[in-house]
Each structure stands twice: as structure tokens, then as C-alpha cells.
């Protein structure tokens, strides 16, 4: 039972639950307390947007717990008004419209890092492939791209910290439960080979060997020799670099990120492949860009297809990907990726200008994807409906299942139900959570 269907117990029961209306001029609460012009519909009567999205949710079947019966709608996005009217409004309650979970304090450093990390990972792979298949220009450009992108992303990571001078504390521990810790170590392992490969290309480009005193000329030879093993070492870790960032986002309580946890890694590696392939097309001469083009096309296709899938499986929280700034970014990303991918496939081989144009479109598409997903998550954390509505539906479904004597499923709950709040469904007060069934 959804809050709307069951007659929300709090409907018309609360006054003063609207948006505070006045800005909490509190530097620490900068995100949450910003009055959000209609974005927060805390109470009945202001539920327009929530209802539209809840419709999506209900027809789309959603997260854990509600899967099954509500699935018949096939997950199609709401089209037109008729369908919207069939479902009662999803009202939900919140505390004065305030956010429930907190958005991360991360700023644009992090989406930039997501992009740069993906670009670095993809370019390392491209660089190794070009090295092994004898494409010197593609190899050089991909290696340099990877090194520059990696350095930029690491700087962004450190810059984003609240205490940048303590960044090295990340290296105190290795925690498998912390994607950020795992990612730090992956990056740490990935960086040396990458830098060696990149440095050798730069050294060759600047013809460093000529300026070195004879006694030190062997250094440049050594670097050249180390470039291939370094490039291979980096390329072995590059897929992890490109995909772990998705886990970084999805292992959070930020609704739009966590709900995307099934597909986001594929979206992110697709985006990484599109961006690195695209940049390869921009920088390398036509004769060598065949693989880059193919990688870009594969990446763009995967990104578009899986992103579509992701929006379906996210259910209600997918709304965050459609509204406001993240909505614009995601639309831009789709258009740029689709146009870039298609023109790379059809025209990318014909003329350098086409290759450059479609490559740039793909890179821009990847940037938009990263910023879009990032901003959607932040938005979903600020707007309590994305936390409350799906959890409430999950809880109600479980209570209903318990009341009907069914196995509530393995999803645990944090709420021990009391007696029915007014006429609200729920179970008998003595309903037990059976340990064995839940953990088995």
C-alpha cells in the first residue's frame, strides 16, 4: 500500500510542515535548508511532482521489496496525463520539508574526477592497444591523455577534501567496505605505470635525450624500455579505475545513486570508453583511429542502452535524473553521446573534421553524464521525497505482507510496528520479526 492509497495517516494532520520559507543562514546547513522553490513538497496539497514520479514508480515497479506484483507496468515512463490520473497522489510526510539524508559536501571536483578517472582508464587501455598493434600516434596521445587525466583527477580528489593536507591518511588503512579506500589503492597502483608510460612519451616528444649529458642518456633509454611494461601494468588496472567510481557513488544513502547500483558501473565504463575513444579520434590521425572509433561507438552504445535500463530499474528515484539541472545534463549527455556515436560510426572514417567533431561530442557527452549523475544524486538527497516515498512503499509492502501472514522477505526493517496509526494498515503490535527467516 502506498501512502496515497491507504489514506496517508498524516494527511491534513500536520500544520507547519511546509518548507521553512526562511533561509537558514547557516553555513553548515547550506544544502539542506535552502528554500527550494517548490522542489520540496512536504505535505499533502503540494504533492504534484511527487505524484507524477510516484506514478512512474508504481508502474515501473521499483526497488527491493515492492518487486513482483507492481511490476506489470513494465517500467515504462509516464506518458501523458491519463495514466497519471489513474493513480492516487503519492503524498508523503517530512519534517518541515527538510532533507532526510544529507548530500555529500562534494563539489564539482568529484564529477570532474569521475570524468577524468574514466578518461584516464580508457586511454590507458587505448594506449596499450596502440602500443601492441603499432600505432605510434595513437599510443603517444593516449598515454599522455591518461597521465594528464590521472594527475588532474588526483588533484581534484585532494582538493575536494576538507583537510587536503591530510590526504595521506587515506593510505593508513585498506578497507574493502569503503569504495573510496579501495579506489585510493587502485589509483595508487595504477599511477606509476601510467606515469612511466606517459613520461616516456613526453620525453620523446620534447626530445629530452638530446639535452641530457651523455652520462645520463641511459635514463631516457631506461624510460623508453619501461614504457611498455608500465603501460601494460596501468592497462591491467585501468578497467578497475573506470568502474570503481560507480561503486563509490552507489555505496551511499544518496537515493538516486544507491538505486542505480545495478547499472551504474556499466554506464560509467561506457562513458569512459566513449570519452577515451572520442579523445583518441580527436588527437590521432585518421589512419590510426580505427580502434578508438570502435571503442567510442561501443562505449556510446553501452552507455545509452544501459542508462535507459537504469532509469527503469531505479523506479521513483529516477525522477531525480529528469528534473532541473541534472535533467538538462542527462538530456544533453544523451544527445551528445548519440550524435557523437552515430557520426563516429558513419562519418568518423571519412574525414578528420568529422572524426574531431564526433570525438568532441562524445567527450562532452561523458562530461554531461558524470555531472548529471552526480547532481541527480545531490538533488535526490536534498529532496526528502526521494528518501521517504520509496522507503515508505517498501515498508508498507512488507507490513502488508506480514499482515497477510506471508514471509516478509529478506529485506530487513528498522521499524518495529506499533498499533495501527489511526486507520493505517500495519500489523498487530505484537508482530515479531523472525530472526531466522530474515537472515536466512
Amino acid at each position: 500500500m502506498s501512502p496515497g492509497e491507504s489514506g496517508d495517516p498524516h494527511e491534513d494532520n500536520q500544520i507547519g510542515q511546509q518548507d521553512p520559507g526562511s533561509k537558514a543562514a547557516n553555513p553548515e546547513r547550506h544544502d539542506g535548508e535552502r528554500p527550494r522553490d517548490g522542489a520540496i513538497r512536504a505535505v499533502p496539497g503540494t504533492e504534484g511532482q511527487a505524484s507524477a514520479s510516484a506514478t512512474t514508480r508504481r508502474t515501473g515497479g521499483g526497488g527491493r521489496g515492492t518487486r513482483g506484483p507492481g511490476r506489470k507496468g513494465g517500467g515504462r515512463r509516464r506518458k501523458g496525463r491519463a495514466e497519471e490520473l489513474m493513480v492516487p497522489d503519492a503524498t508523503f510526510t517530512s519534517y518541515y520539508g527538510r532533507q532526510v539524508v544529507k548530500p555529500t559536501p562534494w563539489e564539482s571536483d568529484i564529477p570532474f574526477y569521475l570524468f577524468a578517472g574514466g578518461l584516464a582508464g580508457g586511454s590507458s587501455l587505448l594506449g596499450m592497444g596502440a602500443d601492441l598493434t603499432g600505432r605510434p600516434h595513437l599510443r603517444r596521445n593516449a598515454r599522455i591523455t591518461a597521465t594528464v587525466a590521472l594527475s588532474a583527477s588526483m588533484l581534484a580528489l585532494v582538493h575536494d577534501l576538507g583537510r587536503p593536507t591530510k590526504f595521506y591518511n587515506m593510505l593508513r588503512v585498506f578497507k574493502p567496505t569503503s569504495p573510496m579506500s579501495v579506489g585510493t589503492w587502485v589509483l595508487t597502483a595504477y599511477a606509476p605505470g601510467n606515469v612511466v608510460a606517459g613520461a616516456s612519451e613526453v620525453a620523446r616528444l620534447l626530445d629530452v635525450q638530446r639535452f641530457l649529458p651523455t652520462r645520463l642518456k641511459f635514463l631516457s633509454g631506461l624510460l623508453d624500455w619501461a614504457a611498455r611494461p608500465g603501460g601494460i601494468e596501468a592497462a591491467l588496472l585501468a578497467p578497475a579505475v573506470a568502474s570503481y567510481t560507480a561503486v563509490l557513488l552507489t555505496d551511499t544513502s544518496t537515493p538516486a545513486w544507491h538505486e542505480a547500483h545495478r547499472e551504474l558501473p556499466f554506464v560509467f565504463v561506457g562513458s569512459a570508453a566513449a570519452a577515451s575513444g572520442g579523445l583518441g579520434m580527436v588527437t590521432a590521425p585518421l589512419a590510426e583511429t580505427g580502434p578508438a572509433r570502435m571503442l567510442a561507438v561501443i562505449g556510446a552504445t553501452v552507455e545509452l542502452v544501459v542508462e535507459h535500463q537504469m532509469e527503469k530499474s531505479m523506479g521513483f528515484t529516477a525522477g531525480a535524473l529528469h528534473e532541473g539541472t541534472p535533467g538538462k545534463l542527462m538530456r544533453a549527455s544523451k544527445i551528445l553521446t548519440a550524435v557523437g556515436g552515430a557520426s563516429a560510426l558513419l562519418l568518423g572514417r571519412r574525414h578528420r573534421a568529422f572524426a574531431v567533431a564526433s570525438g568532441l561530442a562524445l567527450v562532452a557527452g561523458s562530461v554531461c553524464t558524470r555531472f548529471g549523475v552526480f547532481e541527480a544524486g545531490q538533488e535526490s538527497a536534498r529532496d526528502p521525497k526521494y528518501t521517504v516515498v520509496p522507503q515508505r512503499e517498501r515498508l508498507n509492502a512488507r507490513r502488508a505482507a506480514e499482515a497477510a501472514g506471508q514471509d516478509p522477505g529478506a529485506t530487513p526493517t528498522s521499524v518495529r510496528p506499533g498499533p495501527p496509526a489511526d486507520d493505517l494498515q500495519t500489523t498487530s503490535p505484537t508482530a515479531e520479526h523472525t530472526t531466522q527467516e530474515n537472515t536466512a
Binding site: 498524516h10 558501473p265 489511526d422
Partner: protein, 410 residues
């Protein structure tokens, strides 16, 4: 050792009794402190049972927490316009937060038709007063005269004794005033205090009968499976021997990952004040994640946390979690027996999404009314599946590159 501890979750995956998805969330016998490597017999797990049904919203806890922990000011003073709550939310500089919820809804077991007792009857038994001063708090004050009324207070038990010099006489405890029961028929005295009608006392009472305030003191839940702790990449967040979760200021580098890791929106990164000198209290620990420590410093000395100590109603009850759970269940049963609709325990269930919290709540309405997530789940529970997906994605990328070079030789 920390490496071993951190690998434990993976070791547990091999335990055949648990599904792989439970690997990161299962509760070890002995509680979280044992799991975190505090030996087999750490001190009993400590926590809070916050009984919101008796909270009076005095904010003593909020203030006591700030005072004891030296938490800097939380922004400039501004009215939020949301009831009596001008703090807004938990945050890096608000470790306790008292919430005020105004509802058009009667309190369970409460009759809101005006019933003010006359002195003979027990308070609240519900006999209508004569018209004079009826329904005003001024009159109510007298009707509660059995608690102590000034004109019936006996004189000082002993006058100042000048016969000897007693320097410390003034430090002796005050003699206890013996309240004298108000005799039947004592006339009501209008004290001239500003008075206003009780809800529903006025003629247009129909509109106002159903009204209640809910007050709740929110705090970090000190989860058994703490998302913040799981995701912290520096080890700044750690599990204490009391089973609580604490940030180490000197280790945290302010990555802010814990902020998104918490399913309750508790922890936050402190923002300093650029207009203040660097060492000003406003900039204490700026850039570092901060939250309730369950007064780790006090616990170590066998003291009660400042907030619980300051709470005048015992709405915040501190103690061993096992015992608090029992107490909470008794209280819940009492309220249910009294017909209080909506009474429920929140975050207490050890099988719940965060494995039962060290600090749990008795609520009188659904959690989201209080700004709590209705069904919080530690997201690390899904981590094995997420790593698996990421692994497949990584393989996919490698395969795509291979395809591009092998299949795309043009």
C-alpha cells in the same frame, strides 16, 4: 591489526550460515565491539533509549551537548519559522537536535475536551470547573495546589541561629517544604497571570480540539552496522569498546564520504567561518566530519553523557543497550495498552536495516514525521553485489578494447 579487522567482512562471507548479502551486516554474538576487535569481553554496549512520548522540548540536551563538547555555534541566529525548532537539523555542529512537530491530531489516550479538575479530585480526573477562571492556566495553577501552594507553606523550620558560628551553615540542604493538601472548597484565586484558553476551551472549540505537539530529541544512532564507519577510507571513524561510533578529529581528512554513507543524515562536515581567525572556536575542526560521540570522554570515566544527564524528564535514557531494549519494549507495551495510536520503536530491531541501533527511539507517529527515514538500510549490505557489478563492467571494458583492436583493424 586494522588490516585484519577490515578484512573480517570478507572472511565472514565464507561463513556458510550467512547469505553473501548479509556478509557486511550481520551481527556477531557479543555485539559490534567484539566484531571490531575489542576482545571477547568488552564493556557492555552503551546507548540511548529516547522516549519521545515524555519529551517536553526543553532543549536541555541540545544545550548540554554543546556546552560539554565545545561545539561551535551553528550558523547565525535566524528564525526558521518551523515551530520552536530553529536549529533545523543534526549537523556537524549540532549533535543533539530537538524537533517540534505540530499536528492536528489528539495525543493517544488524551481527551482534549476541557476537563480541569477541582481540588477534591485527582488531577486530570475531569470535572468541570465553575465559570470563574475556568479553562485558564491561572486557575489551573491553583488546582494543582496539592503540589505546593505559597500561602500554605509553613514558615522556616529553623530561624538563623546566632548562638554559634557556623560558617558552612548555608551549605546545609534546605529543609524540605512540606506541601499541604489543598482543602476541599478552597476558592480559586486568580493570580493575575497572563492566561489563555486551553485548546478547545473557547466557544469555537470545534476547530481546536485536535492538536498535539510531538517533540523528539534526535541524535546519532550509533548503528550496529554503521554506514558512516563502513565507508570511511581513513579509519577516522572507529568503533569504541562501548559499541559506539566516534570520529577521530586528527585522522579525518574531511573526504565527506561518511556524510553520504549515513542513512539517517546525521554526520556532516564542519564548515568553518572565514571571517574568524583560524584558531577561533568557530573554526574548531573545520573541514572535518563531526557528530555525537556518545560522550566517549565521559563514558570512559563512568559518567553519563551530558545530554542524558541534563534531560529533566528522562526522555533520554542512557545505559546498557540490552537493558534499554527491555525498557523500551515495556514502555511500548504500556503505551499500546493505553491505546496510544502510532506508538512504535524506531531503529531498535536487531534484525533491522542497520542491525539495530545503539540509540533508538520511541515515536508516537511514523518516522518520516520526525524527519527520520522510514526504512533505513546500511548500503554496505549491497556492497558485494555492487563490487560484482563493477567487476563485470570492468571486464566488459577490457573486452570492448580488445574487440576494438582485434576487430577494428582499419
Amino acid at each position: 591489526m586494522s588490516l585484519l579487522t577490515n578484512l573480517k567482512p570478507f572472511a565472514r562471507r565464507l561463513d556458510p550460515r550467512r547469505g553473501s548479502d548479509q556478509a557486511f551486516t550481520s551481527v556477531e554474538p557479543g555485539g559490534p565491539a567484539v566484531r571490531a576487535g575489542w576482545g571477547e569481553e568488552p564493556p557492555p554496549r552503551k546507548g540511548f533509549f529516547t522516549d519521545t512520548s515524555i519529551c517536553i522540548g526543553c532543549k536541555a540536551c541540545e544545550v548540554a551537548c554543546k556546552e560539554w563538547n565545545g561545539v561551535p555555534q551553528d550558523g547565525i541566529f535566524e528564525l526558521l519559522g518551523s515551530s520552536y525548532d530553529n536549529t533545523g537539523a543534526l549537523g556537524a555542529s549540532t549533535w543533539r537536535h530537538v524537533e517540534f512537530i505540530e499536528q492536528r491530531k489528539p495525543l493517544g489516550g488524551q481527551t482534549t475536551g476541557v476537563t480541569i479538575g477541582v481540588p477534591e479530585t485527582a488531577v486530570g480526573a475531569g470535572v468541570q470547573l465553575p465559570d470563574s477562571g475556568a479553562g485558564s492556566f491561572g486557575a489551573t495553577a491553583s488546582s494543582f495546589g496539592s503540589v505546593g501552594s505559597f500561602d500554605t507553606i509553613p514558615g522556616p523550620v529553623s530561624g538563623p541561629d546566632h548562638s554559634g558560628i557556623d560558617l558552612f551553615g548555608s551549605l546545609k540542604p534546605e529543609p524540605v517544604r512540606q506541601p499541604e493538601p489543598v482543602k476541599a472548597g478552597t476558592p480559586m484565586v486568580d493570580l493575575g497571570m497572563p492566561s489563555f484558553d486551553l485548546p478547545s476551551a473557547s466557544p469555537d472549540a470545534g476547530e481546536r480540539t485536535e492538536f498535539r505537539w510531538l517533540m523528539a530529541s534526535n541524535v546519532c544512532k550509533h548503528c550496529t552496522n554503521a554506514g558512516c564507519l563502513d565507508v570511511c577510507p581513513t579509519g577516522a571513524l572507529f568503533r569504541t569498546e562501548f559499541g559506539t561510533v566516534v570520529v577521530q578529529d586528527d585522522v579525518c581528512n574531511g573526504c565527506g564520504y561518511c556524510v553520504a554513507g549515513c542513512p539517517f543524515g546525521v554526520i556532516d562536515r564542519r564548515i568553518g567561518d572565514k571571517n574568524q581567525p583560524k584558531d577561533a572556536i568557530a573554526n574548531k575542526n573545520a573541514g572535518i566530519a563531526q557528530k555525537c560521540t556518545l560522550c566517549y570522554d565521559r563514558l570512559g570515566e563512568g559518567l553519563t553523557p551530558a545530554c542524558a544527564q541534563a534531560c529533566p524528564t528522562q526522555s533520554i535514557q542512557f545505559g546498557d543497550v540490552d537493558e534499554l531494549r527491555e525498557r523500551a519494549n515495556v514502555r511500548l507495551a504500556d503505551l499500546q495498552a493505553a491505546g496510544v495510536a502510532g506508538a512504535q520503536l524506531y531503529a531498535e530491531d536487531p534484525d533491522g536495516g542497520v542491525g539495530g541501533a545503539g540509540a533508538f527511539f520511541l515515536l508516537l507517529d511514523e518516522p518520516e514525521v520526525y524527519g527520520f527515514p522510514p526504512d533505513p538500510i546500511v548500503t554496505t549490505a549491497d556492497l558485494p553485489r555492487m563490487w560484482k557489478n563493477a567487476g563485470f563492467a570492468a571486464l566488459g571494458l577490457a573486452a570492448a578494447v580488445t574487440t576494438a583492436f582485434v576487430g577494428g583493424r582499419r
